[in-house]
């Protein structure tokens, strides 16, 4: 890989450094960008957005291939700005506050990363990515966790991705959170508790997803859930765990891209993304249904799709820990349940009063990238050495065995069976208890503005009050001088 060095204030900046950890990310990003751009271009027909998207993609590549902390920070912030611009421009006509809130969260992450990097660099006087000092760790963790949208910092994902147009979402979802995962894997691979955190996030997010009505919000929560899987893999603290996480990252990028494209197509035809208003689309959009089926099967970990490969690898990596295995199994059941219900609601059930009267199959420009991604999901699932050899250097035990086939099948079966029974209850549970978490965050930002207003009122007082303060300050200074 091309590498490039640049001197900044006495520190060498290394760009384009690819090692075993960044390789899967580079490959995944490079593979997804083509169909994603194609899709978003077809969806929007807006040149400027594509330019920003390409820049965003380049920044993401730069982040995962940065050879030092400073250039990592630079690209990280670059991603943040570009994605915020993408979201702001996209959501402008409806609600400008979405882009605002997105930027704010990521500025927090950026400031935290900045602080961590500064502490790290000034205590070791080098920009190396390895050998982090304990003082810098909390800030880097905070940055990584926000970017990767782990609970309790997940709120920006449904807030932003739940409302932007799918053309942009396809691009953003592929990169932003994955870079957060990369940061976690890069900076603190040996942090204890990551596996448990990841598994909990997976379960929690899927439960939240079950409580949603809106297609894009459902997918947003599933996105968080998949990140949970990856983090759990990293938390296995073994080479095979990281390798499995990388594999899962690749699979996740592919099938999440596919699912968001499906959501986009459905949204495009239906003009709404409320699942409750849909139904019977299988006859109108058969090819989209096929793509959705592939995506759903893949995310549920059904053979022979790529989700099966990576989830099985994860299970192998996490064999030793019964709690986490159990949590992941629960998550798998719930995922299958959620997608079975989603497919049923959107495509299969007959709903005479549904609004998609004039819905028809998506045009070819939208279909081709979807089918390409579906092909990738299937192809890398069947011929998995293609993936494992290219992405990870560690040999993974044979994946297509009877045991693992059964292990991946029964949660899905269980989930599908359980759909009609528990979906309603879970939905209530999620809506009542957990839903509110998402709405704390906009209030929080309003709260900051309130603090500012109070400060203004105190500090911008009347002329003579201020003069009095000046005098008091002078007296204080003379008085207190030792």
């Amino acid at each position: 890989m091309v590498s490039f060095s640049f001197d900044f204030m006495g520190y060498p900046l290394l760009l384009g450094q690819v090692d075993g950890l960044s390789m899967p990310f580079v490959v995944a990003f490079s593979v997804i960008i083509v169909p994603a751009l194609w899709y978003s271009f077809a969806y929007h027909r807006h040149r400027n957005q594509s330019i920003v998207s390409v820049l965003f993609f380049l920044c993401s590549l730069g982040t995962v291939t940065a050879g030092d902390l400073l250039s990592f920070l630079v690209f990280w912030e670059g991603m943040m700005i570009l994605s915020a611009i993408l979201i702001a421009v996209d959501t402008g006509r409806r609600d400008l506050r979405i882009g605002y809130r997105y930027l704010v969260v990521h500025v927090i992450a950026g400031a935290s990363l900045f602080l961590g990097v500064i502490i790290q660099v000034s205590s070791t006087n080098s920009l190396d990515l390895a050998g982090l000092v304990p003082a810098a760790l909390p800030f880097l963790i905070l940055a990584g966790v926000i970017k990767a949208a782990l609970i309790p910092f997940h709120f920006w994902v449904p807030d932003a991705y739940g409302q932007i147009s799918p053309g942009i979402a396809v691009i953003l979802t592929a990169f932003t959170t994955k870079v957060g995962v990369y940061a976690i894997a890069r900076f603190f691979p040996s942090l204890s508790g990551l596996a448990l955190l990841g598994a909990t996030v997976a379960v929690f997010a899927v439960v939240m997803a079950l409580g949603q009505r809106h297609l894009r919000r459902v997918l947003s929560y599933h996105l968080i859930g998949q990140i949970g899987y990856m983090v759990a893999g990293i938390g296995a603290l073994s080479d095979i765990g990281v390798a499995a996480a990388s594999l899962h990252m690749f699979s996740g990028v592919m099938y999440k891209g596919l699912l968001f494209m499906v959501a986009g197509s459905v949204l495009y035809q239906m003009k709404t993304d409320d699942v409750g208003h849909m139904g019977g689309l299988i006859r109108k959009m058969p090819l989209t249904f096929v793509a959705a089926l592939v995506g759903a099967a893949s995310i549920s970990g059904l053979p022979p799709f790529n989700g099966y490969i990576s989830k099985t690898a994860l299970k192998i990596a996490l064999q030793g820990d019964p709690v986490i295995s159990l949590l992941l199994t629960v998550a798998a059941v719930l995922t299958a349940m959620s997608f079975a219900k989603l497919l049923w609601d959107i495509f299969l059930r007959e709903k005479p009063q549904c609004e998609g009267g004039e819905a028809r199959e998506s045009p070819a420009v939208l279909l081709i990238p979807m089918l390409v991604l579906a092909g990738i999901c299937l192809g890398t699932g069947i011929h998995y050495p293609l993936l494992t050899d290219a992405l990870v250097e560690i040999s993974i035990p044979p994946i297509y065995s009877v045991g693992s086939l059964w292990e991946s099948l029964y949660p899905v079966l269980l989930g599908v069976v359980l759909v009609p029974i528990t979906a309603i209850k879970l939905r209530h549970l999620a809506r009542r208890g957990l839903h509110d978490l998402d709405f704390v965050f906009p209030r929080l930002i309003e709260g900051f503005t309130q603090v500012g207003r109070v400060t203004r009122n105190t500090l911008e007082g009347h002329l003579q009050t201020q003069l009095l303060i000046v005098t008091a300050f002078l007296v204080f200074l003379i008085w207190m001088w030792p």
């Binding site: 005098t471 007296v475 003379i478 008085w479």
Partner: protein, 237 residues
């Protein structure tokens, strides 16, 4: 009421603290005997500059740059006042005071002018100088304003003339300073740049100091007159 008492308390403390600081100042005589600056100026001042009035010597020679600065401050203040009262450039009153006052001011005016001239030109010999004389000149225009009405004063020396005088005075000061550079010495050099020191105590002594005084006098007079005129003229929108 609360503000007043708080201010009173704070200021009382401030006063005590300042007083405590002031009490530690050395006696002026002690300081002067140690200060290189004061001793040099007192002993060598006359031979250095040719001016008998050492305050003027300090003002226009040793610290001539300060004087350029303060002249510019007046210039800036005049410009600022003009800027603030822009667009109201009209004479207001044509009436003025009684004819008795008018007559007597006409008798007085030449004397006031000459007094100003004297203060300006003999600044290096007796107490006085460009600033003081310039203020006297400015008083003259102010008197004319009051007694004859602003319209008369406006016709007599209008704003353009004042601006012209002010700028010319300022530029003259700078040119006099540049003579030093031209003669191979430093900016604002006086005797060293070839101005004649003359016999201390005479009008032609002091090198460039009388000329600088004149420039400053013109500038101050015009500047203050401008400020006054701009403040009194009527606001017509």
């Amino acid at each position: 009421m609360i503000r007043k008492s708080v201010a009173l308390v704070i200021l009382a403390i401030l006063g005590l603290l300042v007083m405590g600081g002031l009490a530690e100042l050395p006696l002026p005589a002690e300081r002067m005997s140690e200060s290189v600056t004061s001793r040099h100026i007192l002993s060598e001042g006359v031979s250095d500059t040719g001016a008998v009035n050492l305050v003027t010597a300090v003002l226009f020679d040793y610290r001539g740059f300060d004087t350029l600065g303060e002249a510019t401050v007046i210039f800036a203040a005049a410009a600022g006042v003009v800027l603030l009262f822009f667009r109201h450039d009209l004479p207001t009153s044509r009436l003025g005071l009684s004819s008795l006052a008018k007559r007597s001011i006409m008798v007085l005016a030449p004397f006031v002018f000459v007094t100003g001239l004297y203060i300006v030109m003999f600044g290096h010999v007796t107490p006085g100088g460009g600033f003081q004389g310039g203020v006297v000149w400015a008083t003259l225009t102010i008197l004319l304003c009051i007694v004859y009405g602003t319209a008369f004063e406006w016709r007599f020396i209008n704003t353009r003339t004042k601006t012209l005088l002010e700028s010319l005075g300022a530029i003259a000061f700078i040119l006099l300073g540049l003579v030093g550079i031209y003669r191979g010495d430093f900016f604002l050099s006086n005797i060293a740049a070839g101005f004649r020191a003359g016999v201390p105590g005479e009008l032609t002594s002091g090198g460039a100091i009388p000329l600088l005084n004149l420039a400053i006098g013109l500038k101050v007079a015009a500047g203050l007159a401008l400020i006054f005129y701009n403040m009194v003229k009527k606001d017509v929108g």
